[in-house]
Symmetry: C2
Subunit: 644 residues, 2 copies
């Protein structure tokens, strides 16, 4: 898709008339008085959380935002492979694939050895290593990511719309109501309306849970007495979206330029084929100096970009958005309101996204990690509010996401150092250079990190131990389910196994068949299905409410190594062809075979062909456990650990 040719226009580019691209002005009327979950802030974390909660019509969610309406331009743009996998679960990956700019290769430029004030290309790498994900790394205006979430929310069972023009004043947790499992409306929140028509009106809302997705200056964070810790770095960067004419040949590649004397610049090509973004290094700030004191203008940024581009020309025609910021890697020590002196107290208030971790945007991680915060918290809140899990499950949010954020900050600091350091390398002659080869090597090594696929949760009630990891060596416990192609047996459709995991709050058990005849009554899959269907200790029996479909809490799917032509649905256990809904219609989408043409999942994911195994996958697509097919007790014990 090509668009923005005659100037940047916000909104859905498939609507020809920009004036008809209204993304909706949100909910009207006053806030509800009482809700289950109140989300503060319509950024990536808040919208991911809201979209997840909107899937449950029995949960009353409210999301408020200080701005008068949806975001239209600017801010983040990187969408990592891992995020695309999550968008697939939310049901809009195909829209992003179509509209976004794909990052296919990254190129590196350095000073020309002959004429040091010129730059020359020093290298080129494939952006994402083969097989890392079934999705590419893409970039897209954050505003469009918001739009897709808003669309999903609107279409969801809860039909959720944000309340715009609301500024959080303060919140109070009634400690006397905390500490039990009935989820009282223990948090009282005061919000001020800031739109012209209602300016100054105060609204009070009571919530069982409040989630602060209100950015780096989070009021929620302050209200629970937490702070961001870390160095405020003394390095400033400018970021600028431009429509420009240049003879620089790599302007449609992600490109890192390190000039001899004018600093570094990162080029991010953007959606629509014409727009691109420049991250431009501004010279060092003095200790204590704030970038705002420099009075930097977009013309300053253009001038700096031109110096770095030498000998190439840059003729900027339009700057739809620009900003100047200081790099600051900062982190909260905890992402909820549970204090260290009373760690058993149940959390009532959470923070997510920039409210609890900030960082340089150059690793392209910010928006991505924030969305994973929201995805992590969303299903847990739903599980507790729907009485499927005890409230103690909510402790795992801070534990899991704080550790991941810390890793990100560490990675980000290191990466920023590599980008910025002008005196780091001993490999250059003048002592004022850098090491392009080292940068490129670093970039390649950290590809998995940047793709968002390196995150791993540590053992906990939600993450099993590695005793049986060898049965599925390529599906790492604690890491996101690495999807692979399979064939659906009932209709021979080639699909991605991971795409059966939707953002619907359900758990999955993927049962991989062993070497035996799958139709044999005592096959591993046959006995597992018998256990799951009939045994009193079966988590499926135990945790599925009466009257609901058998797969409504735990969705069990089987994958066989035989060709789909050698399998017969009519010989499969009835548990894998469940009768569902008011008519008792059969669900034919539970049985799969390896897809030998696209890569046999047993080979690519290291499944034990002799024994098979079970892979338990969380509602947020992370692998929770790997167990033998007959690991009935361990399976029951695992689910008993966090379900009720």
């Amino acid at each position: 898709m090509q668009f923005h040719l005659n100037g940047f226009e916000p909104g859905d580019p498939t609507i020809a008339d920009p004036a008809r691209r209204d993304a909706g002005s949100g909910a009207s009327g006053p806030l509800p008085q009482e809700v289950d979950v109140l989300i503060i802030g319509c950024g990536p974390a808040g919208l991911t959380l809201a979209a997840q909660l909107a899937a449950f019509p029995d949960i009353k969610t409210c999301i408020v935002e200080q701005k008068p309406g949806p975001l239209l331009r600017g801010q983040a743009d990187g969408v990592a492979c891992r995020t695309m996998e999550m968008f697939e679960a939310f049901g809009f990956s195909e829209r992003v694939l179509k509209e976004a700019c794909w990052i296919n290769e990254t190129t590196f430029w350095k000073p020309d050895d002959r004429v040091r004030e010129n730059i020359v290309r020093s290298g080129r790498v494939q952006d994402t290593e083969d097989g890392l994900s079934e999705f590419p790394h893409v970039v897209l205006n954050q505003a469009r990511v918001h739009d897709f979430y808003l669309d999903i929310m609107r279409k969801s069972p809860a039909a959720l719309e944000p309340y715009y023009g609301r500024r959080l004043l303060d919140l109070e947790v009634d400690a006397t109501l905390s500490g039990d499992d009935v989820n009282p409306h223990a948090v009282t929140v005061r919000v001020e309306r800031v739109d012209a028509a209602h300016e100054g009106q105060i609204e009070t809302i009571k919530a069982r849970y409040v989630v602060g997705c209100d950015g780096a200056r989070s009021v929620v964070r302050k209200s629970i007495g937490r702070a961001l810790h870390g160095d405020s770095a003394n390095r400033a960067w400018g970021v600028m979206d431009v429509l420009a004419v240049t003879d620089f040949p790599d302007v449609r590649f992600k490109t890192l330029i390190q000039s001899a004397k004018d600093g570094s610049m990162l080029i991010i090509p953007r959606e629509g084929g014409y727009l691109f973004r420049l991250y431009i290094e501004i010279d060092k700030l003095d200790a204590g100096e704030r970038v705002s004191n420099r009075n930097i203008t977009s013309d300053d940024l253009i001038a700096a970009a031109r110096r770095i581009f030498n000998p190439y020309k840059l003729d900027v025609k339009q700057v739809p958005w620009w900003s100047v910021y200081e790099i600051g890697q900062r982190l909260c020590d905890k992402f909820d309101d549970v204090s260290a002196d009373n760690p058993a107290r149940l959390p009532r208030v959470f923070i997510a996204g920039d409210a609890c971790h900030t960082h340089s945007p150059k690793a392209g991680q910010g928006m991505n990690v924030s969305m994973q915060d929201g995805f992590n918290l969303g299903w847990k809140l739903a599980s507790v509010l729907r009485k499927r899990s005890p409230s103690a499950l909510l402790h795992t949010y801070s534990a899991e996401r704080q550790a991941i954020a810390k890793e990100l900050i560490d990675f980000d600091r290191e990466w920023a150092e590599v980008l910025s350091s002008a005196a780091k390398s001993s490999a250059t002659a003048d002592g004022n250079g850098f090491d392009p080869a080292a940068t490129q090597s670093y970039f390649v090594r950290h590809g998995r990190y940047t793709a968002g696929t390196a995150a791993q949760y540590q053992p906990s009630i939600l993450t099993g131990d590695a005793t049986y990891q060898h049965l599925a060596a390529g599906l790492t416990i604690g890491m996101r389910l690495h999807s692979a192609p399979v064939i659906r047996v009932a209709d021979a459709k080639p699909i991605h196994l991971g795409h059966t995991v939707k953002a619907d709050g359900r758990w999955r058990i993927f049962a991989f068949g062993g070497a035996e005849d799958p139709a044999a009554p005592h096959s591993g899959i046959g006995r597992l299905c018998h256990f799951l269907a009939d045994a009193p200790q079966s988590p499926v029996r135990k945790f599925t409410p009466a009257g609901e479909d058998i797969d409504s809490v735990i969705d069990v799917r089987a994958i066989f190594q035989q060709s789909h032509h050698d399998l017969a649905v009519e010989t499969m256990p009835g548990f894998l062809l469940p009768a569902k809904g008011r008519f008792g219609l059969r669900d034919y989408e539970k049985i799969f075979s390896a897809d030998r043409r696209s890569g046999d999942i047993f080979s690519t994911r290291g499944i034990d062909r002799e024994r098979g195994c079970m892979v338990v996958v969380r509602p947020d697509q992370y692998v929770a456990h790997v167990l033998p097919l007959d690991g009935f007790e361990q399976l029951a014990a695992f689910f008993n650990g966090f379900m009720m």
Copy 2:
């Protein structure tokens, strides 16, 4: 995507609440008094035509429909590969891929040799041969195809909405105004409003062109004195969409069942994972007997299906839609109002879809061919109305589409015969059987036909001769452009070359480079670009209006056989990096290389590696010509044949 579990619900299944799926009630107010094109009927042909014309804000189009609103259920469901390719050009293929049911394999069932009243599986074939198209064969409720078109129309520059509740009364062509190129509003149409609020109101509208997409009982057809010719076959079929429970194992495959004594049945699995369609043979009608006289009910169809299914059970829970019809392959001899005694007279009225060709639905062709009618006529009307082509271009619509429809009827009659004939084969013992092996073989041989990729236009002003066909042996002149993967050089994105062809009325020249260094100034591509950019006889120079982008009429793209790493955009002719729009931004999406990982297009499409070639592609994706890279004169002559 799974849906319809608790009963069929029309509309967009991603909207959770069926009550919020309103697809729009169309345009309000009276009809305009004067339009360029008036389309009668919101079926597949009419909507394809309307969606094409809606791309041009300078064309005034009106589409009317007798029904009170959008179609909600029933009718056709087959979407051939070729149709998916067209949907890609219209910009909604990804939505259909996601929502539709994919037909991956077809199975065949026959009487059990041991127990003749039972059926057994006799064979299984892959539905679409490898490499036939980059898209699968899918099935989806015709109503949803309409919805996608309506959405495209709404978003298009012309922002088109149908006028519902309008019944065509009559039309009159003022012959005194015909025969010239100024496109007068020569057709006067009278329409009656049939909605309750305006019942009986008559509206008169004048149009330059009228297109009758008003179905098998077309009033437009009658008004221009044409008739459908052909046999009214004496064979009746029932069609029924069901939500049902069955132990028949292939209910999610397209399945052809031929029973020993109870006739044939075709199963079409449908979108959402639960719904399926049954086509059931009803016994022969007597000569002159109409199926309507039989008083067949849906219970009769269910009973017949149960007999054919023996020994499998069928428990029907819901019948969202059903119908009974006679097979009739019928065809008009001409698809416009130009009479044989005055063939040079310019056409003013056209007919498309079922209005000019009807047939059995079992080949799954009806909706597909009708849409191709609309696609064929759409760009031609736009080209004439926008004064890019003389009106005589419009003669090619009937010439091209009538020949294709005739081929379809012939194929369809043969196919229906194979399905229906119970006494045809000599291979069965009792003389009352059929030949499953012959049926299956027929099915395989005709796969390309069914996929819609076999259609070929004969040489004409729009279809060149085969002199240079050998330079691109796999891109057949007169057939649809068979896409293949390529790499976009400026950003290394893997894309499908054919997907650069959008439904925007533009012509394409794909210039494939020869063996020489592409950067050499006198390379074949270099000299072609020089000709196209500068020569007075260049069709690009000649036919592009002043002030419009250089690719607004003819879009030229180059494909090189070298790896994209061995190509440099900065060494390419400026013509391939055109400055566009009000800022003169560079378009980086004109230069491609072969994609060796996904199949080198030079090999898969038989491009002459030594000489290269030009492939000229029509706005409706058909290959118009293949010429040598230096075939400047032939290229100029070709475009001079139909452009002005």
